[in-house]
Structure formats: structure tokens, C-alpha cells
């Protein structure tokens, strides 16, 4: 038998929390922002957008976690290059902004808060049914030590089916 306090039961009913040992999602994908010297992915301190991903944008995003070089040294960028994953020391300078297709902000998260290595292995649980990856972006407050061989990689845990309003509640 599992005892649950009324306030936690209320949170569970509203979808505000879940057991951290639960299965996170059905599917998983790493999305990458490459850092280039020029062009769309130019490394700078302004907004740097994720590549558009219509498939992922139609899914239900259940969790996010920033990938560090201690987990994986390099990933293939959307442009086909093999880029070095950032080290965790850069994360305090990075903020992630998740938007919908109208570019309305759904969520702002510090990258460090989304890094499992700093949070006892726990990912950020999310409930984003209308996230648009191509409208979402990161901002880096200081690019010292980050160069064009690096990239920002985000682990995305998702379900294929977006829940109906009744299922969410």
C-alpha cells in the first residue's frame, strides 16, 4: 500500500509532479545547436535558436536534460559536422528558453538546473505539449572558452501522442 498526502495527491492529479523513478518517456532524442563563426548558428551572446524539428514539435515533451562532455564527447550537428559537446563548466552561463510556435515563452530554465550531474541524476520533468523547437533558443551570457568546434546538446524525452485536455487533468 502506498500512502500519499492530500497535497501530493492534488499535485499528482494536476500533473505538477511525478515520481522521479517513473519511466520518463516513450522516446528519446538529442537535439543540437552547432556553434559556427557565421550564419544562422553564429556563436554570440544573443539568442541562438535550435534547429527546426517538426516531428519533435508534434510530440509531448516529458523531460529535458543538458548533455555534457562527461557523458558524450561529441555529437553530429544538423549540418553534418562532428562537434564537441560543451563541458559542464559552461552551463552557468547558459539559459534555455522554450517557446511555442507563436514564440510565446513557455519556460525559462538555467542550463545548470537542467544538468543531471548537478542534480543528483535527476532530469527536468516537463509537460510541454506545444513546444516548438525551432522557436526555442539558448542565450549565452559570456562566450569565453566556448568556440566554433563546440555545440550545445539537449536530451529530449518525449511521447509520440500529445495528451488530450482530459488526460492531462
Amino acid at each position: 500500500m502506498r500512502l500519499v498526502s492530500p497535497i501530493i495527491q492534488n499535485f499528482l492529479d494536476r500533473g505538477y509532479c511525478r515520481d522521479y523513478t517513473d519511466q520518463v518517456s516513450e522516446c528519446f532524442k538529442v537535439v543540437v545547436i552547432p556553434f559556427n563563426a557565421n550564419g544562422y548558428y553564429k556563436l554570440n551572446t544573443d539568442r541562438m535558436f535550435f534547429p527546426s524539428d517538426p516531428y519533435l514539435s508534434a510530440c509531448w515533451i516529458r523531460g529535458l536534460a543538458v548533455l555534457s562532455s562527461t557523458e558524450l564527447v561529441s555529437v553530429q550537428s544538423p549540418e553534418g559536422t562532428q562537434d564537441d559537446v560543451l563541458s559542464a563548466s559552461s552551463f552557468p552561463r547558459i539559459m534555455i528558453t522554450i517557446c511555442n510556435s507563436k514564440r510565446e515563452i513557455l519556460s525559462q530554465i538555467a542550463a545548470q538546473s537542467c544538468y543531471q550531474g548537478a542534480n543528483n541524476g535527476k532530469i527536468c520533468f516537463t509537460d510541454f505539449s506545444d513546444m516548438d523547437l525551432g522557436s526555442s533558443y539558448i542565450t549565452i551570457s559570456d562566450i569565453t572558452g566556448i568556440n566554433t568546434t563546440n555545440c550545445f546538446a539537449l536530451k529530449v524525452y518525449y511521447d509520440l501522442q500529445v495528451p488530450t485536455q482530459n488526460e492531462q487533468n
Binding site: I7, I8, F11, L12, R14, G15, Y16, C17, R18, D19, Y20, T21, P92, R93, M95, I105, L106, S107, Q108, I109, A110, Q112, S113, Q116, A118, N119, N120, G121, K122, C124, F125, T126, D127, F128, T139, S141, D142
Partner: protein, 138 residues
């Protein structure tokens, strides 16, 4: 153990706009996104420079060592202090095994909320204490 699910979130800050004075109230900066009266806050996380070096408005956040020098009070729209003088250290996710602090969902008037300094430490004018507020639309 349950951990928070992010439905929506917004980073907010309380800036030390004057010289550091112990126990003075430094109010939060108003955020238009959060000024609607149909938003309930159900989780709060504090960011020091170890989590986020600069706030979205470009202000420097306090050093992690100064977290023990600052307390925060959140008031709801009924002017009740549902979080009163809580150490911001306790709201840092990394200090709680990765769990985000959750509260009974509240309608919050952000500009009524404030931080106070209990010891100067290395705190300086214009630094900010940043928080991520997790909220839902009702």
C-alpha cells in the same frame, strides 16, 4: 519521491538596487508575463551564480557562498506570507538532491515579494537574487 513537472516557468529576480542594508526589503522586479491574475505558482527554485551567472535582464547573480546570507518572503494576493523568511539556500535544487521545492499552488503578487540580507558577505549593489517560478494557468 515526487519531483516537480514544469508546465510553465519564468525566471524572476530581486535586485539590490541600493547599498546592502541588513534586513531591508528588496522587492522583486515586475514581470509582465506573470502579472496576469490567473497564474498559480506551485514551485520555486533559487539560482545563484553557480546555476545562472546572469539573469535574463543581464544582472549578475549572487555568489553561491552568499546564499546563506539571504532570505526570501513570498506573499500571495491575499497578502499572506505563505513563504516567510526562507533561506534561499534551501531553494537551490542541487542542495536538495535535485528536488525542486513545491508549495500549495498560490496566486502571487510578485512585486509584494522580497528578499532580505542577514549578513553582507560578498553581496554588492546591483547584484540580483534569481528564482525560477514554476506556474500554471487556471
Amino acid at each position: 519521491m515526487n519531483n516537480l513537472i514544469i508546465k510553465k516557468s519564468q525566471i524572476v529576480e530581486a535586485q539590490f538596487q541600493t547599498a546592502i542594508v541588513l534586513n531591508q526589503k528588496y522587492n522583486f522586479t515586475e514581470i509582465p508575463n506573470l502579472s496576469a491574475n490567473n497564474l498559480i505558482i506551485y514551485g520555486i527554485e533559487c539560482y545563484t551564480a553557480t546555476q545562472l551567472a546572469k539573469t535574463p535582464s543581464g544582472n549578475t547573480t549572487i555568489a553561491v557562498a552568499d546564499a546563506v546570507n539571504v532570505i526570501v518572503t513570498f506573499r500571495n494576493t491575499k497578502k499572506e506570507e505563505f513563504v516567510y523568511q526562507m533561506p534561499v539556500y534551501s531553494l537551490i535544487r542541487a542542495n536538495n538532491g535535485g528536488f525542486v521545492t513545491m508549495f500549495k499552488p498560490q496566486l502571487v503578487n510578485l512585486t509584494d515579494c522580497y528578499v532580505q540580507v542577514v549578513a553582507a558577505g560578498t553581496l554588492a549593489t546591483n547584484q540580483s537574487v534569481a528564482f525560477n517560478l514554476y506556474y500554471d494557468v487556471i
